[in-house]
Symmetry: C2
Subunit: 225 residues, 2 copies
């Protein structure tokens, strides 16, 4: 009997709350594995249905389409990172220390694992790295944004931007730096693995230490008085 952690995500993301049923959790669990393994483009509800011995129709009762499922997963991830950051920075006063902890939290989010049993956080992190941008690079962004589908990311960015402003209240780009830290982290982990000529760092056996150092170096320089 394990503790059930339930993320509260925008309910426009799904038709039926997947975290509340066996089938729903199966969908989450196996979609993560399938997308990680085959990529988002060749991922289909048919393949997912076959994998979990269910049917396309049943999956469509939970998610309108695979894009919204991806959005759900990505939001889940951002909420989870936000939770990690909150947890790890509790009782830390110094904003510089806080930011270091924040960076560590999301760079190696998948290691520190406060684990929800049906979510493989490490593979979900890979999905965010490889496919995450597709969640908001759509013709429907504006519409989806108006429905609040990106609130989790915005809230996370806001949390980080506040810490950045605490460090240096004159810094003009706290939000841009916050989002850039996330995007840069994902990008360079991806580059290190697939397009190493586009970066200076390397990631061996999922050791993301160099990425963390780079992000710390960047923030230190940028936020110095």
């Amino acid at each position: 009997m394990s503790i059930e952690i339930k993320m509260s995500l925008n309910d426009g993301l799904y038709l039926r709350e997947p975290q509340d049923s066996k089938l729903g959790r199966n969908i989450i669990q196996s979609s993560i594995l399938l997308i990680d393994e085959f990529g988002f483009e060749s991922f289909t509800f048919k393949k997912l249905a076959d994998r979990i011995n269910s049917t396309e129709a049943s999956i469509y009762r939970y998610f309108e389409n695979k894009h919204l499922l991806l959005l759900f997963l990505v939001n889940w991830y951002w909420e989870w990172v936000h939770y990690l950051i909150h947890f790890n920075t509790m009782n830390v006063e110094d904003p510089r220390k806080k930011l270091k902890i924040i960076i560590h939290s999301f760079v190696s989010a998948s290691k520190d694992n406060p684990s929800v049993d049906y979510v493989n956080e490490s593979k979900l992190h890979n999905i965010v790295i490889s496919e995450g941008g597709k969640a908001y690079h759509t013709k429907d962004v504006d519409d989806e944004n108006s429905k609040g589908f990106f609130l989790s990311y915005k809230n996370l960015a806001t949390t980080v931007s506040i810490v950045i402003s605490e460090i240096n209240s004159d810094f003009k780009y706290p939000f841009a730096l916050a989002t850039n830290l996330f995007e840069m982290s994902n990008n360079h982990i991806y580059f290190a693995k697939h397009l190493p000529k586009l970066t200076d760092i390397s990631v061996k056996e999922n050791d993301v230490n160099e990425v963390e150092n780079m992000l710390n170096y960047f923030t230190d320089k940028l936020l110095a008085d």
Copy 2:
């Protein structure tokens, strides 16, 4: 009779060189318009064929599939930016000045327009901003990378990284900074337009001045001794 500029791109990107024929140039021209207008996901060869009064079969003679067409367009764009940078930094000695010119070149690439008649550079820039990441976020990256499909981007990054190293030879992340400038530029123009809460800058009527200022501010801070 206009001068025909032809980009030399990796010939694995296409089946038949589209820059050499009327139909090929039509494909390039109209695919840019269609992808810009409807987004990459709902863009199809069928729709493109209808638009240019040709057939799906004919388009397939030029490009294996729409993903490779996108890759072609994105490569064309990077080559074009590279060309612009080269042109604009000729005879400029001071690397700091050079980098400023480089930043200006790609941020407002679409304005300075050395125009190839069948390419709407401004819309192509929009495509790179909105859909560019999809060019390398695929399950086939490694394979495509081994075929040299990302060389244009790598060469561009290298050019910029060299200037960065000229400014500050101790800087440890010249490639990462170079790519980050591009990615950040695209990201924040996109954010400003669609997810303004994720950035601090705004882009009114395609005036990307604030983006340029931000990138200059970042590089100045990062490359200071």
